[in-house]
């Protein structure tokens, strides 16, 4: 309790909420902007928040990493986390996940919605996995009204596949043009002999 004075709680909770949902470390400047306080105040708050977790022996910590704040599991419990990762994480990409990765590789930059449109199904879960494993990363935002996040493949992806650059990806030959579907349809509907 001592670590986090009562009158700081409101601001501290706002910091916690935002850092909790972020997928990347958040720079203190950004937090300061959101809360409309100074960067120094953010640092003060985060120090106090971190100390309160320590004091309560929580399983996570609030740390400053790569210029930003993030939650991560406490090192004391790495054993559980490692077991969890080994136990439960997939060991190879499913065909559907590979397809999603292929779409990103060939169509980057691309948004989640565009991927879903190509795949015909929501790809959020798969995308989270690909991002989390570092094969895919956000590369910017769409100019459109939704400002959707755009994704592309990472350096790590190129290395893993042994590619020097994206230009190294095998070309996709053009698809055979549609058979004249209408014609065939007509034939099918024409009363014909025994099938």
């Amino acid at each position: 309790m001592s670590a986090l004075p009562r009158e700081w709680r409101e601001e501290a909770a706002a910091v916690e909420a935002v850092v909790m949902v972020s997928t990347e470390p958040i720079p203190p400047q950004l937090l300061a902007e959101l809360l409309e306080v100074t960067t120094e105040r953010i640092e003060e708050l985060c120090d106090a928040i971190g100390a309160s977790y320590e004091e309560e022996e929580r399983g996570f910590e609030l740390v400053l990493v790569a210029g930003g704040y993030r939650f991560q599991s406490h090192p004391a419990y790495s054993g559980y986390v490692e077991r969890f990762i080994l136990d439960d994480q997939p060991t190879r990409l499913s065909p559907a996940a590979l397809e999603t990765l292929a779409i990103v590789a060939y169509k980057q930059p691309i948004s989640r919605a565009q991927i879903a449109q190509i795949r015909g199904v929501n790809a959020d879960g798969v995308m989270r996995l690909l991002v989390q494993r570092g094969y895919v990363e956000s590369v910017g935002r769409d100019d459109g009204p939704g400002q959707a996040i755009l994704f592309g493949t990472s350096q790590h992806f190129l290395e893993r596949l042994g590619l020097r650059s994206l230009a190294d990806l095998p070309p996709l030959e053009a698809f055979v043009p549609d058979v004249s579907t209408v014609e065939l349809l007509e034939q099918a509907l024409r009363p014909g002999p025994e099938v």
Binding site: A96, A102, R133, P170
Partner: protein
Amino acid sequence: MTYEVHLDVFDGPFNLLLQLISAEEVDLYAVSLSRIVDVFLVELHKIEELDLELATEFLLIAATLVDLKCRRLLPGSEGVDLDEDLALFEARDYLLARLVECKTFTSAAAALLECESRAERSSPRRQGPDDRFDSVAPDLLAGVTKEMLAGAARRAFADRPVPVIATAHLHGDEITVADTLDLLVGLLPTRPRITLGQLLRDDHSTPRFVATFLALLELYKREMIDLEQQENFADLVIRWTAHEGSYAIDDVESYDDMAPMSKR
């Protein structure tokens, strides 16, 4: 090729009837006969392409309403055909049951929306393990070559949207091309060579034939099968040529299974 109605415009005949009744403050008979018909006709016109099923449903409701209203205007009930009366009561009960059902789900939908709005006020943490654990997580791309990736891309870009052709007006509501496609994608990989005749052996009704044929065309277009006919009128030979095991056309395979947290 898709044959569907733009559903944003209206919510179907029962919703419309419900709205109509509510808007007219429940007394349908205060409204003129022509207005009832007009409203339904206006909705019918909003349908850009003709959907036989939907049009029929609209007409049926409109006709029943007109019929009900006529009865109400007729004095007394002498000399009325008993069978016809019963049929009318049946139609009325049917409409009533549908209205109640429709109202129930409209309310349920509102409740779901409320759940969603409440849930939206919280965002889940999605960050995952930090980089310290990178070495623990197995490399998912182990054994994957760039050729495999290209193959996956070809599959992904093969024209996805499945044309759903309502064959319902031909044969109940049972056989659709979408369903047939799924059936074939399950079956064909296990039978590398099969003929159309064999596919239709158990059911060679016209709707089944049409649905199967259209589904085969779709698969052909996606380069998942080869079609061959030795001579005119010979049985069509189907060969499964798509690579790798099975993948659902509808892509309704649960993506949850491949998310980092598999369900247990």
